[in-house]
């Protein structure tokens, strides 16, 4: 490999296969412009130093109808010290545009791109609105892979080392206890640093999995304070670590998000557990799968959101088609009649759920309904409402045309759908084999989960205002097709002697229609529907019973809350109720599960109420271990942004008093000890090992959990309370 590339080392490809890609798994950007490329070897990693990397962005007309004098910008950029070169090139400024003349500006350093791009708007001769900047806000490593033909997929399974600290340890400037790999060490800084150093030297890990990225600067400052010069996490002698981003709040899709500071250690990948969606929802194998699809190297893929990954995959597709990626999307929806808008606004389809407990219920699911609609119906931003077939009406209810050319979104999503299917099939085979391999099952599950999230998000993404590649007309069309498909399915099912009890998004629950003479087998109907709509409807299985939970303050069904007992296996399916929520204390979760068992055995609300009475009595006697009552809540905003004094706020204030920092995105764990208090004494933090709790607070939680179980059979909270009071009176009389 050459160590000195020419200044414009990349060529755009027209094909879609990444040919002749150079393999490297991690890239470090030094302040002087040099780039370290790290390649995994059999027993470690090797680096190549690249000089002369000049990241590139583009400036072009906002729309092909705008005539812009780009010459003025040529002069501006050519005289700029951070610019290496300016060039006129032909590129497509959008999926729906042909090649046009644009300016390509090569920066001297990857950090200079955003500022340089901003200057395209500052000439009076070219006011904002005339030009668009392209390929601007890419993450660094991703940009490098794209521009210099690198494939960031690791060539072997990366080795890892976990570094984690418990919450109380984050209070001070230094750690007194730290878990390194499987071993927890405690002691003075020298002891702790030595333990970390030994593990680093012994294992030479490719990936550092940290409970929080703050561990990196904290360890270095401990070394500094004690004048320890032998401590180093880096694989590159000249730079120990870099701060990539400071802790910040940002606005995204109308919500305020919070991201912790990010750090970089040359030669190694940092994965911050507190700042990795996919590590939480999938696992490292899932992230690695996304690395090869998105060309986002591991460190960037680990902290990426679903939207980041989906955008990156689409940028790769755009790149392969010579299409530039606008920094801001100026493309707007086309005019449509208010009548069309009215039809489009109806949203996703749901069958009115019949609240209550239904016996003998069967579930059928469309596999990846929305992505499959996109692929089978060719719903893609570049082909919807095309001009060349404007007289056609391809989308039901809306009358939009869809071009005969295949849309790029199909090329993006079809491989994801196919690969997830294949992974799921492999999973089934592995699980069914005589000696199932647990590691393999975990790896496959992680990959399947990671892909699931991307596929789930691809529909909503089309509706996001700021999604680079979204298009509201696609969002509307997907909904319209989904409504049509579900109605078709309903017709077939009813014709086969079944009655739809509930339907949401891509799932349908049916039971035998009492009026019908007999029922056509569901597998048969499912096959007919699959043929008819072109998307597989899978028979999920039978339930002895399913209960759909009504909304708290109305009689309508809460569409997403239900629970049921699988037929022929000892298992419940639970959605949306307390036992499924991660914040629910173990005691309440166990209680609710017990209620489900009880309801299954007895079908008797009175029996469930009996359980409630006993649980309340246990709570009131003080017989419940406070550890079973820990509430685990994810912090969504800084403590001063809460408008009400919730238990969460009390817990955050309490933590702050102890010098502990719990950032948004992290969990706060506490026991409610006195719900009447409006101070930090309302709660005790889990690590304080509280010995008491506020029984009446948890009684309320028990009643709420009971209501979820009994409301489908007609018991609301008021009736539960009345029943409790009556039985208390009986208790009193019996004394």
């Amino acid at each position: 490999m050459s160590t000195n590339k020419e200044s414009k080392p990349w060529k755009l490809r027209s094909g879609k296969i990444w040919r002749h890609l150079i393999v490297a798994y991690k890239f470090d950007f030094l302040d002087d412009g040099r780039v370290l490329e790290w390649e995994l070897t059999a027993d470690g990693a090797d680096y190549t130093v690249q000089t002369g990397y000049t990241p590139r962005f583009f400036v072009g007309a906002r729309s092909s109808s705008v005539d812009v004098a780009l010459e003025a910008l040529v002069e501006l950029y050519e005289n700029h010290p951070d610019v290496a070169a300016v060039e006129r090139l032909e590129r497509r400024p959008g999926f729906r545009r042909q090649h046009e003349s644009v300016l390509a500006i090569d920066a001297t350093h990857v950090g200079a791109v955003p500022t340089l791009a901003e200057q395209a708007r500052q000439l009076p001769a070219i006011p904002i609105g005339d030009v668009t900047t392209f390929n601007v806000d890419y993450s660094r490593e991703f940009r490098y892979c794209l521009e210099t033909d690198h494939d960031p997929t690791p060539t072997r399974s990366p080795t890892t080392l976990t570094l984690s600290v418990s919450l109380p340890e984050t209070a001070g400037e230094k750690y007194g206890e730290l878990t390194v790999g499987e071993k927890t060490v405690s002691g003075d800084p020298a002891t702790i640093l030595a333990a970390v150093q030994t593990a680093i030297d012994d294992r030479d890990p490719d990936v550092l999995i940290c409970s929080s990225a703050n561990i990196i600067p904290t360890l270095y400052s401990m070394a500094d304070d004690d004048a320890i010069d032998w401590f180093s996490l880096s694989r590159w002698p000249d730079v120990e670590y870099q701060q990539l981003a400071t802790r910040s709040s940002y606005a995204s899709y109308g919500q305020i998000g919070h991201s912790p500071a990010r750090y970089n250690v040359p030669g190694r990948v940092i994965v911050d557990c507190s700042n990795s969606f996919f590590l939480g929802q999938a696992n490292l194998d899932g992230i690695l799968d996304l690395v090869s699809r998105s060309r986002k190297p591991l460190q960037e893929a680990a902290w990426a959101s679903i939207g980041n990954i989906l955008t990156a995959i689409q940028i790769c597709e755009a790149h392969s088609r010579d299409v530039l990626v606008p920094n801001h999307s100026w493309r707007h929806e086309q005019f449509k009649s208010m009548g069309t808008l009215h039809n489009a606004d109806r949203g996703g389809f749901t069958f009115a759920s019949e609240v209550g407990l239904h016996e003998n219920v069967h579930e059928l699911d469309f596999a990846s309904l929305y992505p499959n609609i996109i692929c089978t119906r060719n719903v893609s931003p570049d082909v919807i409402r095309c001009d060349c077939h404007a007289d056609r009406s391809d989308v039901p209810e809306l009358g939009y045309s869809i071009c005969e050319e295949e849309g790029y979104l199909v090329d993006v999503l079809q491989p994801l759908i196919d690969d997830r299917q294949a992974i799921k099939a492999e999973l089934r085979r592995e699980r069914a084999s005589d000696h199932p391999d647990a590691d393999r099952i975990e790896s496959l599950s992680g990959r399947s989960d990671a892909l699931k999230w991307i596929l789930v998000a691809c529909f909503g993404y089309q509706g996001f205002n700021n999604a680079k590649f979204g298009r509201i007309e696609c969002h509307e069309a997907i909904n319209a097709f989904a409504r049509e498909i579900l109605l078709t399915a309903k017709d077939h099912l009813e014709a086969g002697g079944w009655r739809v009890a509930h339907g949401i998004v891509d799932s349908i629950w049916v039971k035998p229609e009492p009026e019908a003479a007999d029922q056509q087998p569901l597998e048969e109907i499912a096959a007919t529907i699959t043929d008819d709509v072109g998307i597989e409807l899978e028979y999920e299985g039978e339930f002895d019973w399913v209960a759909f939970v009504p909304q708290r303050n109305s009689d309508g069904g809460a569409l997403t809350k239900y629970f049921g007992k699988h037929a022929n296996r000892d298992e419940f399916k639970i959605r949306g109720i307390e036992a499924r929520q991660r914040s629910t204390p173990p005691f309440i979760e166990a209680f609710q599960t017990e209620c489900l068992d009880c309801l299954d055995r007895t079908r008797s609300p009175q029996a469930v109420l009996g359980l409630l009475e006993r649980a309340i009595a246990r709570l009131r006697r003080g017989d419940v271990d406070p550890a079973e009552l820990v509430v685990r809540n994810r912090v969504s905003k800084p403590v001063n942004a809460y408008s009400q004094y919730t238990t969460n706020v009390a817990a955050l204030e309490r933590a702050r008093d102890q010098g502990l920092t719990i950032h948004p995105g992290q969990d706060v764990r506490y026991v409610v000890v006195d719900d009447e208090k409006r101070s930090r004494d309302r709660v005790a933090l889990a690590h304080e090992s509280p010995e008491r709790y506020d029984a009446s607070y948890y009684v309320t939680e028990l009643v709420r959990a009971t209501e979820s179980i009994l409301s489908p059979v007609g018991w609301k909270r008021e009736q539960i309370h009345e029943e409790l009071e009556e039985s208390e009176e009986v208790d009193l009389r019996s004394f």
């Binding site: 006011p127 609105g129 493309r331 707007h332 009649s337 208010m338 009548g339 808008l341 700021n466 509201i472």
Partner: protein, 270 residues
């Protein structure tokens, strides 16, 4: 004022001194309580509609009234859901009107600006003549400092306003615009407008007031038209009936009850 017989055709009596054109219409229409004095006529040029709060129903009512009285299509550049179809279907006397309004929504300042720029393409490729251009809450996207620097936001808004003025002249149609708030930053919108109308809530119902116009017809206070929507819907239905637009069955068939003279509610005229 207890006489609510529809055949009693006493109309609003207190007409503002100016509003000459409107008065001519009034005299011509004086035989029917069709709401003639409720909605101002939209003349060619830019009209700014201000209001005490979000003027969704007032804008929609003016658009519907204009479409009932004129041929052609309304082109609507929307932000923040002003073109809500739920509301529109409640007020419009005929669902046919839904197809005479073409909407494109700008969800970001960039998209909003582009819709305004591309409006001529939409108008020129449409078979019917434009009857009206609607652009509510013009400032809505140009105030968020997270998306745009103040100076850039001002530039974009300025270019939007210049284009709307140009369209008003080029197509010789009314351009109805709005803003979310009236302050220094949104002053250019008022400056650009040829005239201003204010819609305010009074104890007797919503009222439009402008230099040449003032709402003079009010619903009776017997509770039947207490809500803006029911009231305006009934008035617009009466109007539709008179101009021969078919009215949907689901629409109210009652006519506005005999209006209440305005003796007690005089505005000095602005």
């Amino acid at each position: 004022m207890n006489d609510t017989n529809v055949s009693d055709r006493r109309l609003a009596v207190s007409q503002p001194a100016s509003g000459a054109k409107r008065n001519r219409d009034l005299r011509r229409d004086a035989s029917l309580p069709d709401g003639a004095t409720v909605f101002p006529t939209l003349d060619a040029g830019v009209t700014l509609l201000d209001g005490d709060n979000r003027v969704v129903a007032p804008i929609q009512s003016l658009v519907i009234d204009h479409l009932l009285m004129n041929d052609g299509t309304a082109f609507w550049i929307d932000v923040h859901g002003y073109a809500t179809t739920t509301q529109f279907t409640r007020i419009a006397p005929s669902q046919q009107l839904l197809d005479r309004v073409k909407v494109a929504r700008g969800f970001t300042p960039f998209q909003h600006y582009s819709v305004v720029c591309d409006l001529p393409v939409a108008i020129d490729s449409h078979p019917d003549d434009p009857a009206l251009i609607v652009a509510p809450a013009l400032d809505a996207h140009y105030r968020n400092e997270d998306t745009l620097a103040t100076e850039q936001a001002e530039t974009l808004l300025g270019r939007v306003l210049a284009r709307l003025r140009r369209y008003a002249r080029a197509y010789d149609v009314p351009v109805l615009v709005g803003r979310t708030t009236s302050n220094l930053a949104t002053e250019p919108i008022a400056t650009m407008a040829d005239r201003q109308i204010h819609c305010e809530q009074t104890s007797m119902g919503p009222q439009f007031v402008g230099d040449e116009f003032e709402t003079t017809l009010y619903p009776v206070g017997d509770g039947l038209y207490q809500t803006t929507f029911a009231y305006w819907r009934a008035l617009l239905a009466a109007r539709a009936r008179r101009v021969g637009t078919p009215i949907d069955d689901s629409q109210p068939t009652v006519r506005p009850k005999a209006p209440k003279p305005l003796a007690t509610l005089q505005h000095g005229g602005r």
